[in-house]
């Protein structure tokens, strides 16, 4: 009989104990999948929402725009850039935008805020969170001269309603102050109070004209990609394009460091939680394997007496840990699969507890507690649970191999 066969039989000597230990490994898989899966889903949701709010997953912008976003900094020949970028794999959309600060005034009040000029022909609910969040009215048309869509809180502060006029004042490309009249075509409600109270959308063509931009100029190009994890790769690809050579490219975490910081901190907390869960599982396996080694000390002494080497005994106990870990992982997959299926397709609605407009890191969080797992997360979970189990088995295995047979034979 080979050692792995013997090890396999050994783990079923104490069926109940094996089942309890395997269950703790399985429970660890369940917790780890829940933590990681909801993390993967939430972070992706936050990053995608942040990207759709203005800067994209990757931003192409004039050099220095990130630190000093003034309207005299412009991208030239955006049509050529857009063509090249849209031809890259993994790009779902690339849209030109002009962003700037302005003073918005109604008959009653003046409030400072931010405008984003967008092209309604290429921006829609899929790539623009404000359009997705339209709560009243509709988006202006591409050739609209005076259309504006405002955040509902800003509208409330300025006492604006659909069809009402407002005046916005800003500086143009040459630094001159300009004022334009606009009429409210729609209102959006993202759920993020600071956004809803300070942002507006303007038609790109009219804004280009008002600011002294040509139709081939913009503040930035927001690039949206299918898989946010590849933002850095995409940034590098875009940076190597001929048309972007004189500009700066930033991935979402460079363009939105606050959001990146919040996610990084949350991920760290998530890893700590998982580490603690892992420790509990490892302690369970360590306990089981130690008990199993201690109660077979005499038997191990006999096996070494008849010729089993210390290395082979170490291997035997490690193989037992391997089988135990494999059993636990299999059980874990069996109990986790339906739970993950439920979280992936249905989720748990937390809106009654958090409300519909719970924000974190400046972006709206989906009140549905859902999960998704990236392939590397699956490998990470299975790999780390398995490694922990093996690591926990290493000490008992080492202890078994180190004990002289004469000592082991003396134990009853």
């Amino acid at each position: 009989m080979k050692l792995n066969q013997l090890a396999f039989r050994n783990i079923f000597r104490r069926k109940r104990r094996t089942l309890i230990t395997a269950s703790s490994v399985a429970f660890g898989v369940l917790l780890s999948v829940t933590f990681t899966g909801t993390g993967d889903y939430t972070y992706t949701h936050m990053i995608d929402a942040g990207a759709k709010m203005g800067m994209g997953h990757v931003t192409v912008e004039p050099v220095g725009y990130q630190n000093s976003p003034t309207l005299n900094k412009k991208l030239q020949h955006i049509d050529k850039m857009l063509d090249e970028i849209r031809n890259l794999d993994n790009v779902s959309d690339a849209v030109p935008r002009i962003m700037g600060q302005a003073m918005f005034a109604s008959a009653n009040k003046s409030i400072g805020g931010v405008f984003i000029a967008v092209n309604p022909n290429i921006e829609n609910a899929k790539n623009n969170l404000f359009i997705q969040s339209l709560s009243e009215g509709k988006l202006f048309s591409a050739n609209s001269k005076h259309g504006i869509v405002v955040g509902y809180k800003l509208a409330h502060k300025l006492r604006l309603k659909l069809g009402k006029k407002l005046v916005y004042t800003t500086t143009d490309a040459s630094g001159e102050i300009i004022s334009r009249i606009a009429r409210v075509k729609g209102m959006f409600k993202t759920g993020v109070d600071t956004i809803d109270a300070s942002m507006v959308l303007l038609p790109l063509a009219a804004t280009q004209q008002a600011l002294g931009y040509s139709s081939n100029q913009a503040s930035l190009i927001a690039v949206l990609i299918h898989d946010q994890r590849k933002a850095d790769d995409m940034r590098d690809k875009i940076a190597s394009l001929h048309s972007t050579q004189n500009y700066e490219e930033l991935s979402w975490h460079e363009a939105q460091p606050d959001l990146a910081g919040v996610i990084a901190m949350d991920k760290s907390m998530n890893y700590i939680s998982q580490f603690l869960v892992g420790l509990i599982i490892a302690a369970g396996i360590l306990n089981t394997m130690l008990m199993s080694v201690l109660e077979r000390k005499h038997e191990f002494g006999m096996m070494m007496a008849v010729g089993l080497s210390p290395q082979a005994l170490f291997k035997l106990v490690m193989v037992e840990s391997f089988w135990l870990a494999l059993l636990g992982l299999t059980l874990g997959i069996v109990i986790t699969a339906p739970w993950f299926y439920f979280l992936y397709y249905h989720g748990i609605d937390l809106s009654s507890g958090f409300g519909d407009d719970f924000t974190y890191g400046g972006v709206l969080i989906d009140p549905l507690f859902k999960a998704r797992l990236f392939p590397e997360s699956i490998v990470f979970i299975l790999g780390s649970v398995f490694s922990l189990a093996m690591l926990a088995g290493a000490y008992p295995a080492w202890k078994a191999g180190r004990t002289p047979p004469i000592e082991s034979l003396k134990t009853i």
């Binding site: 009989m1 013997l6 000597r13 096996m303 007496a305 010729g307 210390p310 082979a312």
Partner: protein, 236 residues
């Protein structure tokens, strides 16, 4: 008698420290065991019989003196090398059978052959022959908990002799079985000794073993008091 002994002990001492007291378990023992011996180390409990077996089996190291087994100086070997010696040159039979409970009689008997990586066909032949020799034909697939004490000890003897070791060290092999079974086991080992030339060294204070042994080595307080061979007619 062979001039080159299977086992040679030269001025062997073994001292244990128990708390602050030195216990001299073995005191200056010199001894040769020849190939084909059917010898018994006899003496009261605590006389040093098992300590001597442990030293000969490479399970323990002497505090002084030398132990050779089949020409190999055990003191010069590492733990792994000692394992090799035990695996290839020594067979062990313990008082409490010490079979592996999750293995069948066949698998227990084949355990050391597996460690030796003996080819499957040869292993099967040797195990079946040995189990037949110890009277366990037909019980190959039984697990230890499905066998009597005597049957389990037969499996242990099969495990010890199946590798054709230079010597079988048997520590009180009849202590846990009734007298009829003890007689039967001893007859079987005596036959194996005669027919296959396997060398046996027992530690015992069982009269049946002493009656059957052809050489009696009396041990007392860690010293050999007497070492006497019996004529064939004196062996019962």
């Amino acid at each position: 008698m062979n001039s080159s002994p299977i086992v040679r002990l030269e001025h062997v001492q073994k001292t244990y420290i128990q708390g602050k007291i030195e216990v001299h378990a073995i005191n200056d023992v010199s001894l040769d065991i020849q190939a084909g011996d059917f010898a018994a180390l006899c003496g009261p409990s605590g006389s040093g019989k098992t300590s001597l077996l442990n030293l000969i089996g490479g399970l323990d190291v002497p505090s002084a003196g030398k132990v050779w087994v089949d020409g190999v100086d055990l003191a010069s070997l590492s733990r792994s090398e000692l394992s090799e010696v035990r695996k290839n040159r020594i067979g062990f039979v313990f008082q409490a059978y010490n079979l592996i409970p999750v293995m069948t009689a066949y698998e227990n008997a084949a355990f050391v052959l597996d460690l030796q990586d003996v080819e499957e066909k040869e292993k099967h032949q040797r195990v079946m022959d040995t189990l037949k020799a110890v009277g366990l034909q037909g019980l190959e697939q039984r697990r230890p908990d499905e066998m009597s004490g005597g049957q389990q000890q037969r499996v242990a003897i099969a495990r010890a002799i199946v590798t054709r070791p230079a010597i079988v060290l048997a520590d009180e092999p009849t202590a846990n079985v009734d007298s009829e079974t003890a007689k039967s086991l001893l007859n079987m080992m005596a036959n194996l000794n005669k027919q296959q030339g396997i060398t046996f060294l027992f530690s015992t204070h069982d009269q049946h073993v002493m009656d059957k042994a052809r050489r009696i080595i009396q041990v007392h307080d860690g010293r050999i008091e007497s070492d006497s061979a019996k004529s064939d007619s004196a062996v019962s």
